[in-house]
């Protein structure tokens, strides 16, 4: 979205010299029609529906009844939902802290043109091809304390109560999520690194910069927008983790991995408390939008200035 704004601004500047109103060039606005209709029907209308439903009481049968702000009070004071909010924040921060350095380093490594790196890249990339449900089922089987990897290989420390212990489960979830998504973010960084002009490194080399210095003074600053993009995807994405956790732990043991999206689903489609589920949905939408807009503003990425000046 930011890129689009950026190029629009650019076009504006160029058009400034022309006579106003002369917009015959470029595709017709009508071509955006189908996309807008789809967006309206499948995103905006349901969103309004959810917002309305969050003020109603409905168990899926019969007709919804107005409940005023009752759902909101009930949801915000519910210890299960409060715990879900806390877990969501913990998981967002932890997955970011865990995935970013890993993807960044892997991405830089994969950007090298050597053949063995290309082979390894293909291997790193594999997890991205698996569906989340398949990943979750596979991990559940591997981590089974009685029949899993630990028993098969005879490694006793691997036979922990990984997904059955409230203390361990969240960290297992964090690991599996990272395992699934690090390849994607590495790919972003690989692309980012490959776009950095060689001349910058040559100049740095002439100035006597070592590999580590090159990384910190050229690679990292040049990847600024890639980092912003990847972080936005990670953090907003962590507000929507659902399928993997649902299949892996189902939110358990107890409530140890019941993050907000899961809480919303279980409230809506297990407890059939649609009003409360809608409140959680509205919260997720608002927080998700706020975080992505905030990240863009804060990082200055909305301007998306070129980093290539003088090159």
């Amino acid at each position: 979205m930011s890129a689009a704004t950026g190029s629009a601004a650019l076009t504006q500047t160029r058009q400034g010299r022309r006579a106003p109103g002369n917009r015959a060039d470029g595709p017709s606005v009508w071509m955006a029609g189908p996309a807008l209709v789809l967006f309206g029907v499948f995103a905006v209308v349901p969103l309004i529906g959810v917002a309305v439903l969050s003020f109603m009481s409905w168990d899926g049968l019969g007709d919804p009844v107005w409940a005023g702000a009752e759902n909101w009070g009930r949801t915000l004071t519910d210890p299960v939902t409060q715990n879900a909010m806390r877990l969501t924040v913990v998981l967002s921060v932890a997955t970011w802290l865990f995935q970013t350095p890993l993807s960044l380093l892997l991405g830089v490594f994969m950007a090298g043109r050597q053949r063995y790196r290309a082979v390894l890249s293909v291997l790193y990339f594999l997890p991205l091809l698996f569906s989340a449900a398949a990943v979750a089922i596979a991990y559940r089987a591997l981590l089974d304390p009685n029949f899993g990897l630990g028993t098969a290989l005879g490694i006793s420390w691997l036979s922990q109560d990984w997904i059955g212990s409230p203390d361990l489960a969240l960290w297992v979830v964090l690991f599996v999520i990272s395992w699934s998504f690090v390849p994607f973010h590495s790919l972003l960084y690989q692309g980012g690194v490959r776009q950095i002009p060689k001349s910058m490194y040559e100049a740095a080399l002439l100035d006597g910069a070592g590999r580590v210095q090159q990384f910190f003074y050229i690679t990292l600053p040049q990847l600024k927008y890639t980092i912003v993009t990847s972080s936005t995807l990670m953090i907003v994405g962590s507000l929507t983790y659902f399928d993997l956790i649902f299949v892996l732990t189902g939110g358990g043991p107890g409530n140890a991995t019941r993050i907000l999206p899961l809480d919303m689903y279980l409230t809506g489609f297990r407890s059939y408390d649609m009003g409360k589920a809608s409140v959680i949905a509205v919260i997720l939408v608002v927080v998700g939008l706020a975080v992505s807009i905030g990240l863009n503003r804060f990082s200055g990425a909305s301007k998306m200035d070129s980093q290539m000046e003088g090159v």
Partner: protein, 433 residues
């Protein structure tokens, strides 16, 4: 298991709101106003799927002008879809259910029709404690359509022999057996804690043995403080006593019933006992045929509790699954569904099909038929349990309204994990009444 889930919040948000839109379009239920576009049914895959398929095939072959269109669903996917469909007036003509709280909701919303008169002949053949589950205020709104699924205490005889343990008949004997088995390095009782619902069987049986069926009836009736009944507190205390004694091993929270990891523990000899519904018996037959044939798989009723008020012959589980007839279907389609029920449901062919896969239908007078089956001993045992039970308690998560049922599973899971104590459990559950 639900594998095809919306991947992102957007999809779920859309799902929630789609439900609203559907409800708005459906405009609630308008009995009899729908056009007759043929009767339909939604049925479940797995379990007794073959019997259902045979029934619908037979019906459609005999009644080409009254064909029933059948859609097939996986268990959990069905449970979520059916409620929205019923709520929006788009239900199939034949509604499959577990009776209990859901049926009560349907009746309260006039979503299903009274079929007392049309099913009298079938009801007369049914085991009364099972038929009772389909009745609300003395009228029949649902009839059993498949086998009875009482919860049975299975055990691996070879493991018990190796440890020198006798089959327990009381709770105290069970606790002693747990200690002996644990010292031998086996898991005394396999429990699929990750699935949570198997934990329900423990609290249900213990509460019934200690206080009788009245204790839970008070909960269903919504009596103030019903969850604080001394029988519930004693049951939850005993559960934590078992957990602390290591009855379920130290990793029951990772064991999942969907992949039969709990029954696998028993037939591989890693665990001695398992308390599970009779639907797991086909798993034992398939996964460990030599154990079953050699008589190594034992089965018994849940132990009595000394001084308990409940009849040790009482059972818990799923009395059966049920068919109801949708009120939003056209009169003609309702008539089709009713004749389907009276001609096909639990008829002789269906009974034979069910017995053949190692399950018992809730029909009286089957003793002679059962004698002729393979596994006649086991089938007679289960049949006797169902026939002679003074009370057949429907699984609590089905008996309660959905919101309370989820609270129950949630708190029960925490009770087993030791995160809350019996008093906190009762307090939390009382708050849902």
């Amino acid at each position: 298991m639900r594998l095809s889930i919306g991947r992102r919040t957007g999809a779920m948000v859309a799902a929630v709101s789609l439900a609203t839109v559907l409800a708005a379009c459906g405009g609630g239920n308008q009995p009899g106003q729908a056009a007759a576009d043929g009767a339909s049914a939604w049925a479940l895959t797995g379990g007794s799927e073959e019997m259902f398929r045979a029934q619908f095939d037979a019906w459609n072959a005999e009644n080409p002008d009254q064909e029933i269109a059948v859609d097939w669903f996986a268990n959990d996917a069905y449970k979520e879809k059916i409620r929205t469909a019923v709520g929006s007036g788009n239900a199939p003509t034949l509604i499959y259910s577990w009776a209990g709280g859901t049926l009560a909701d349907y009746v309260a919303n006039d979503s299903v029709v009274d079929i007392t008169a049309d099913t009298q002949e079938l009801t007369d053949r049914l085991v009364p404690s099972v038929a009772a589950n389909g009745q609300v205020d003395g009228k029949t709104y649902a009839v059993p359509n498949t086998q009875s699924q009482p919860v049975v205490l299975y055990y691996n005889q070879e493991v018990l022999d190796a440890a020198g343990v006798e089959v327990p008949t009381t709770y105290d004997e069970l606790l002693t057996a747990v200690g002996t088995l644990k010292d031998q390095g086996v898991i005394p009782v396999a429990l699929a804690g990750q699935s949570v619902w198997p934990e329900l069987m423990w609290i249900q049986y213990l509460t019934d043995r200690i206080g009788g069926p009245e204790v839970f009836q008070a909960v269903v009736d919504g009596e103030e403080g019903a969850w604080s009944d001394p029988a519930v507190i004693e049951a939850t205390t005993k559960i934590q006593e078992l957990v602390d004694a290591g009855a379920f091993g130290d990793s029951f929270g990772s064991v999942n019933a969907d992949q039969n990891a709990d029954t696998a523990l028993v037939h591989t000899g890693k665990a001695a006992f398992i308390l599970q519904g009779s639907w797991v018996y086909p798993n034992f037959l398939n996964d460990a045929p030599e154990l079953v044939e050699s008589g190594g798989l034992g089965y018994t009723t849940f132990p009595a509790v000394d001084g308990g008020a409940g009849d040790p012959a009482n059972i818990v589980g799923n009395p059966s699954n049920f068919w109801s007839v949708s009120a939003s279907a056209a009169e003609e389609d309702q008539a089709t569904a009713k004749s389907f029920i009276s001609s096909q449901v639990l008829n002789d062919d269906a009974v034979d099909d069910l017995l053949a896969i190692g399950t018992v239908p809730p029909i009286t007078g089957l003793e002679d038929k059962i004698e002729q089956q393979d596994n006649a001993d086991y089938l007679s045992f289960v049949y006797g349990m169902v026939r002679d039970a003074p009370h057949f308690q429907l699984s609590w998560d089905q008996a309660l309204p959905p919101a309370q049922a989820q609270e129950l599973l949630n708190n029960l899971s925490q009770l087993f994990l030791g995160q809350i104590d019996p008093q906190q459990f009762s307090d939390a559950m009382d708050a849902t009444l």
